[in-house]
């Protein structure tokens, strides 16, 4: 019965039910509707570039039959005249989890992590679930469908938004009246990936972005290995990946450089990802352009911060303020670079916010054509479905919008959204315009009445002898409901009437005394749209300038190398201190060191009374890393710090202010075998690629002691829990890497294992170890393990009991990179002494002083000075601990760490003795380019103050203009140290 009522309803409103011929019919007799619908006299956007004026769209059975100016309309067509209206293909949402419930968060487990997988017959990592298919969990959500249709969407590609490999998505038409058989256009429409683990599994690995990146790479290696029939066991995950190989591959990357991270994986393995962006692509638009990929762009532009409380406002960083200003321009800037993109409602609280956000992007200059493409042809193309959706060419699904005009104009009404030939009315397009001026005749009195506002929801004003009366009007389905009161609200008149052919309104009147009568409103004039107030047309906001990086103290232009002549400086060459000496810099290199040098074309700097040194080098830093520890395994040799560089870390700039020009960004110490280091030059403003040291030597972090044993927090399940176990992990890995390498070198087929690859590089002398270490027993142990496998431990870092085994270290050839004076923070540093560096140096160990701390590193020069206090190192030897010696330990002393002809011009001009607590770095130069300058810094402060003030005014204006605001907040980087997870 229900079914028949529905069918009747659909028949009445003109819909066409799909026929499912082979289904038996037991509630009546079989019948079929073969009528056409013809929409005539409309402006039809067949595609974003093919527009037909006064055209006809002919549909039948949910598909487009014909479109154009010369469509012959069959006799059995229902014809709708759409004069003055427009037809657009309805939009496609390509990134959604519509109708798919988000998996539930895994519970329990206590504080000990789960290291193994919770499944059998699948990949070893729970977060790789390509075998999942959204269609199996899909449940059509008609409420959400309604919201999406209202925003203009007709088709949605949905997926299970959980895990790193997420399986396949399904393509669904938003057709409430269809069956699953009709509206599901494709069961397996695309394959999805992300950098985020599944909430449904507690398996620990990966705990970091770099772990996620490494895992993706390993998966692709394993696919290849499995495909060639080399795996002995069944792996349904890898099988699914192989099966899904030819589907569109969509990577949910997000902001903060993740687009480029995803693209890099895709490039390595030949997978052309379509990548979900984060809305901040404008910050590094050239790199995104070079990635040459298709993007899916969210348009969840941030609300203005409510900066009306100055105390709270001071918490908002300039970077956030600027993003508020610039984010709405992101689609335009992406479009200007010729990057292909689709738009998505992803990240929006509700799809109903979509058109409002899009309007902002259009205000900023995004072309309407590009916007339409991003919502129709591009997503159709991404999904390989251009023949079915995304345009109104013949044979496509009849998915279209009927609008009062330009679909992107704020004043346009979208009347109908047709999906698969089914009409979904959003507003009555046949509504009669009731607006205008009337004489309202009620019970012998004539009032003046004006009806204004929107056609579909007008408002009323009734006056008696120019006195405004309290009145109300509603207008629906052709009926006008009207009421007003006189005598200060004591007498109420109620009316309901219809609009007559002569545009008057008449009908029933109920008098205040309850008697029934009738009323008449005679139209005296048409409604006149008032000219829009100029003030309302928001002036296009001033667009701030992107800096490199795009935060406070960023550069408007990247610093360029210059030629310099430093005159009369005290020059610390690394091996000696030269008074009254000149240094000439040319083409980013040290050209000459001597006296009485002539400038030639170089800029001369009077350095009288000042000290010139090589830039400070920190062997152990965690600045500029988005993540620091991959703690999910006891070896994470496969992860790379270069995958998670953060060029926007303000501490790069602050360290330049302390004379630092190079550091090693090390993995943390959460596991015995950590990850691969990045060696960075602090070229503030360069991107992740540009920061990396030229021909960067390969390093890896190892760790010993309390951190890898997990001694200081409640975790008891991971091997090793003792120093005894640490040795076993080391020996086991080196042995397996040896066997792996032998197999690889033998030419036999082998499974690429990124973990063992990195460890094998150590054995082959291609990768150096920097090992976090504290007590003498473990230091000695690792040297003995290294001896056994025939390599050298390059550096022991921290090495606070190095002084107890300094002779053994010297003999082995290991360097020591230590704190100047840290101790007492945990049991294993009970015997740490500040004389450590001096003793090790005396025994012939190459000694560096490091920071492991973004604050300490910016005054590492002073920490070097402490080696003079503790143990009496000479000032030349002391200065080496933060320049030449770390350069040696990092195998970069051929370029940096000393002032000699031919070395990189990485220089610091100090106001005082470089190891004095009173010294300030006045200029910090890398390869001849000034990256920090005290005077420039002053100008930057002023520029920040001005820009903040300007943006604050803009936000206050936005708030005053009625814009929604958000509470001030400060994005915060966590303070990474060695043990941070």
């Amino acid at each position: 019965m229900k079914m028949r009522l529905l069918a009747l309803a659909l028949f009445l409103c003109g819909g066409l039910l799909f026929s499912q011929d082979y289904f038996p019919e037991n509630e009546g007799v079989k019948s079929k509707n073969n009528n056409y619908w013809a929409f005539t006299n409309a402006k039809i956007y067949v595609t974003p570039t093919q527009v037909v004026e006064n055209g006809t769209l002919l549909i039948k059975g949910g598909k487009v039959i014909q479109v154009g100016n010369s469509v012959s309309i069959p006799k059995n067509a229902i014809v709708e005249d759409l004069k003055g209206m427009a037809i657009y293909p309805s939009f496609i949402e390509v990134f959604s989890s519509f109708g798919v419930e988000k998996p539930k968060r895994a519970q329990g487990g206590g504080r000990s992590a789960q290291y193994g997988p919770s499944r059998e017959g699948f990949y070893w990592n729970d977060h790789i679930m390509p075998e999942n298919n959204a269609i199996e969990k899909f449940k059509y959500d008609s409420k959400k469908a309604g919201t999406l249709r209202k925003a203009g969407f007709g088709v949605v590609n949905t997926h299970i938004a959980d895990g790193i490999a997420r399986g396949t998505g399904a393509l669904v038409a938003l057709n409430d009246r269809g069956t699953e058989g009709e509206r599901v256009l494709e069961d397996e429409s695309a394959q999805y990936f992300s950098f985020t683990k599944s909430v449904a599994s507690r398996q620990s690995y990966p705990t970091s972005l770099m772990g996620g990146t490494a895992l993706m790479r390993q998966v692709y290696h394993d696919v290849k290995w499995y495909e060639s029939g080399n795996m002995e066991t069944k792996d349904r995950s890898l099988e699914a990946l192989i099966a899904n190989k030819n589907l569109p591959q969509i990577f949910a990357a997000g902001d903060n450089g993740n687009v480029l991270r995803a693209d890099k994986i895709g490039d390595q393995f030949g997978v052309p990802y379509v990548i979900l962006g984060g809305g901040d692509e404008y910050e590094h638009i050239d790199a995104v352009q070079n990635a040459n990929t298709t993007l899916i762009l969210p348009i969840n532009f941030p609300k203005a911060y409510d900066v009306s409380d100055p105390y709270a406002a001071s918490y908002v960083n300039l970077a956030e303020m600027r993003h508020w200003n610039m984010a709405p321009s992101n689609p335009k800037l992406v479009s200007d670079k010729g990057i292909r993109f689709a738009l998505t409602t992803h990240d929006l609280k509700s799809a109903s916010d979509f058109m409002g956000m899009l309007a902002k992007a259009l205000e900023r200059g995004l072309s309407k054509q590009k916007a339409l493409e991003a919502l129709t042809t591009v997503p159709a193309n991404i999904l390989g479905k251009s023949n079915e959706i995304g345009s109104l060419q013949k044979g496509r699904y009849a998915n279209f919008l009927i609008t009062s005009g330009d679909v992107f104009d704020k004043n346009t009404t979208v009347y109908e959204n047709w999906v698969q030939g089914q009409k979904y009315e959003l507003a009555d397009k046949n509504v009669k315009d009731v607006r205008g001026n009337y004489d309202l005749k009620v019970a012998g009195t004539t009032y003046t009445m004006g009806i204004t506002g929107k056609t579909t929801s007008p408002s009323v004003e009734i006056k008696q002898d120019s006195v405004k009366l309290k009145s109300k009007l509603s207008y629906k389905d052709g009926w006008v409901n009207l009421s007003f009161s006189t005598d200060e609200g004591s007498k109420n008149y109620m009316m309901k009437g219809l609009i007559t052919a002569s545009d008057n309104i008449n009908g029933r009147l109920i008098l205040p005394n309850g008697k029934e009568s009738s009323f008449m409103a005679i139209k005296t004039g048409d409604f006149e749209e008032k000219e829009k107030k100029e003030a309302m047309a928001m002036e296009a906001p001033k667009l701030m300038q992107v800096t490199y990086p795009n935060i406070g103290y960023g550069n408007k232009n990247l610093p360029q190398a210059q030629d310099w002549l430093f005159k009369n400086a005290t020059v610390w060459t690394g091996t000696e201190k030269l008074e009254n000496t000149d240094v000439l810099v040319k083409n980013g290199k040290i050209s000459k060191v001597g006296q009485g040098l002539s400038a030639g074309g170089a800029t001369q700097i009077d350095a009288t009374g000042k000290h010139l040194t090589a830039g400070v080098i920190d062997e152990h830093s965690h600045v500029a890393g988005i993540s620091i520890n991959e703690a999910g395994q006891n070896s994470s040799a496969e992860v790379r710090m270069t995958d998670v560089l953060d060029p926007k870390d303000i501490n790069i700039y602050r360290n330049l202010g302390g004379g630092v020009t190079t550091f090693q960004l090390l993995h943390g110490s959460a596991n015995p075998i950590g990850g691969q280091s990045a060696i960075i030059k602090l070229k503030w403003g360069e991107d992740a690629e540009g920061l990396q040291f030229p021909d960067m030597p390969k390093f890896i972090k190892f760790a010993l002691g309390e951190n890898v044993k997990q001694s200081n927090w409640n975790s008891y399940s991971r091997f090793p829990q003792t120093r005894m176990g640490v040795e076993q992990v080391m020996v086991n890995y080196f042995q397996r890497a040896k066997e792996y390498d032998a197999k690889k070198k033998s030419g036999q087929p082998y499974r690429v294992d990124e973990d063992l690859e990195a460890v094998a590089e150590i054995l082959n002398g291609e990768r150096y170890i920097s090992c976090h270490s504290y007590v003498q027993s473990e230091i000695n142990m690792l040297m003995k393990v290294a001896d056994k496998f025939g390599f050298k431990v390059n550096t022991f870092t921290h090495i606070l009991e190095g002084y107890k085994v300094a002779d053994k270290m010297a003999e082995h050839g290991a360097g020591g990179s230590t704190f100047s004076d840290w101790w007492a923070y945990k049991y294993e540093v009970k015997d740490a002494i500040p004389y450590n560096a001096a003793i090790m140096a005396k025994e012939g160990v190459v000694v560096a002083i490091n920071s492991d701390d973004r604050e300490m590193s910016r005054r590492l020069n002073q920490e070097a000075g402490k080696t003079m206090k503790y143990g009496g190192m000479s000032e030349i030897e002391a200065w080496k601990t933060v320049t030449l010696n770390p350069a040696k330990l990092l195998h970069i002393d051929h370029r940096v760490g000393s002032i000699k002809t031919g070395m990189d011009a990485d220089l610091v001009l100090w106001s005082d003795h470089p190891m004095s607590v009173y010294a300030r770095a006045e200029k910090t130069i890398i390869e001849g380019a000034v990256y920090f300058d005290l005077e420039k810094d002053k100008a930057q402060r002023e520029a920040i103050r001005k820009e903040r003030a300007e943006l604050t005014q803009m936000m206050l204006n936005a708030k005053a203009g009625g814009a929604k605001t958000q509470k001030p907040k400060q994005r915060s980087k966590r303070n990474f140290e060695c043990h941070t997870l």
Binding site: Y315, Y553, A824, K842, K869, D937, Q970
Partner: protein, 429 residues
């Protein structure tokens, strides 16, 4: 170097103990002659003459003055003399190894517990405390941590057998951690780690106000039943104790000072005070002193001047605020770097003697011990040291002698002993 090592080795032979033995009372007058004396009150005397007996300074002046040298004479020509540095707001002696819970006596449970006293837990034999002395840090305010009112501190000197003889000023003040108006999301619970306005701020402030009001009311009448918390607050109300209030943002500082002054607290010291430089008139008007966070810290906000923590003490001093330095936010072992925190400000243009005041004269005044400590003046305690060079600079801070109340203390530590033991091992091979 070898000969120095040899001397140390001999010394080490007699001092192979876990802790240094405290020095006995001064029995003989001591004269230090020829040094540059930095008095800690902004003054400096070149070629100075200092004499002290029975623990008190008897003469401070020029060595050109031909008066009789008393007792043992130390020739300190070319060296420098300083008053012992003072470390306020530190849990020194209350925790030994941060990661070993059993050594932790710095943070009692409870939110408003002014009655909890640090002094009786102070470990006079702490190796961490001992390591302060070779850098010139001779006095500290041993301070409990945590909660809103953490408890009551005491001021101690760093060469003692136990807490009783360590004490310089018993129960000198309470330590109140003002609520934060902005709070970081608890990322470990999956919250956004960003700083956001603390919705509970006013409620938390109101709790403090109510506590203060109760303390005031409690003090007006002889209580029927003892309330230890309210009783412990009476000292700050009658002026015999100071209130140390930890606050950093402008609003918090203003709220804190207004609340405490409004409740009748006489001596308020702001600890931290990151934003105080913006409201120096307010600070001066309320006669509040500031103990600034260590200069070796990062700016609080991304857009702040990179050297803001370096120059903050100077900005305050220039505006006429009484300012000292503390390092409450750092690990205890770091407190030996106190002189270098002061030295850092000199790089920002502060006069060296003024910078010295940040850890001597000013701090003594702020802590209320300036009658005896903080400056080198006749009649005050002979708590001072001799350094080979400029003690505010890492390179010059090399102590040869140190005295607390005239007692010559050992400059050896667990760390110097290990140094010598291993130097001997390697040199003897």
């Amino acid at each position: 170097m070898r000969s120095i090592t040899l001397i140390f080795t001999v010394l080490w032979g007699c001092l192979a103990m876990a802790q240094q033995t405290p020095a006995g009372p001064q029995t003989q007058a001591i004269t230090i002659e020829g040094a540059t004396a930095h008095l800690g009150n902004g003054e400096v005397i070149e070629n100075s003459l200092l004499m002290f007996s029975a623990g008190k300074l008897t003469y401070v002046g020029s060595a050109d003055n031909e008066i009789a040298r008393q007792g043992k004479v130390i020739d300190a020509s070319g060296k420098h003399v300083y008053p012992g540095f003072i470390a306020p707001a530190k849990s020194l002696g209350l925790i030994e190894i941060n990661a070993v819970r059993a050594t932790n006596d710095q943070d009692e449970i409870g939110d408003l517990i002014p009655h909890v006293r640090s002094l009786i837990a102070y470990n006079a034999e702490s190796q961490v405390v001992e390591s302060m002395r070779p850098n010139g840090v001779l006095i500290g305010q041993t301070t409990p941590l945590g909660g809103t009112i953490s408890g009551t501190s005491s001021i101690v000197q760093f060469d003692a057998w136990n807490w009783e003889d360590a004490a310089i000023k018993v129960d000198d003040g309470i330590h109140l951690h003002w609520p934060n108006s902005f709070r970081r999301g608890r990322w470990w619970l999956g919250e956004d780690p960003a700083y956001k306005p603390n919705k509970e701020y006013q409620k938390e402030v109101d709790e403090i106000k109510a506590f203060m009001a109760n303390s005031v009311a409690y003090g007006r009448a002889k209580p029927e039943a003892n309330n230890p918390a309210f009783a412990a607050m009476q000292g700050v109300l009658d002026g015999s104790k100071k209130a140390y209030v930890y606050a950093n943002l402008e609003r918090e500082i203003i709220d804190a000072v207004t609340t405490l002054k409004g409740a009748g607290v006489q001596h308020v010291v702001v600890v931290g005070g990151y934003d105080t430089h913006k409201i120096t008139d307010f600070i001066k008007k309320h006669e509040v002193a500031v103990l600034v966070q260590r200069t070796h810290s990062l700016p609080a906000r991304e857009d702040d001047d990179y050297d803001m923590p370096y120059k903050l003490p100077k900005l305050l001093a220039d505006a006429g605020v009484l300012v000292g330095l503390q390092n409450a936010g750092a690990s205890n072992f770091q407190t030996r770097n106190l002189p270098f925190y002061a030295g850092q400000v000199v790089g920002q243009g502060m006069d060296k003697e003024a910078a010295l005041q940040l850890i001597t004269g000013n701090t003594a005044e702020i802590l209320g011990i300036s009658n005896d400590y903080g400056t080198l003046e006749v009649g005050k305690s002979a708590t001072l040291f001799v350094s080979e060079g400029d003690a505010l600079d890492m390179r010059g801070n090399q102590l040869t002698h140190a005295f607390i109340d005239g007692r010559e203390i050992s400059l050896e530590t667990h760390q110097t002993e290990l140094w010598k033991r291993y130097m001997e091992k390697f040199e003897g091979k």
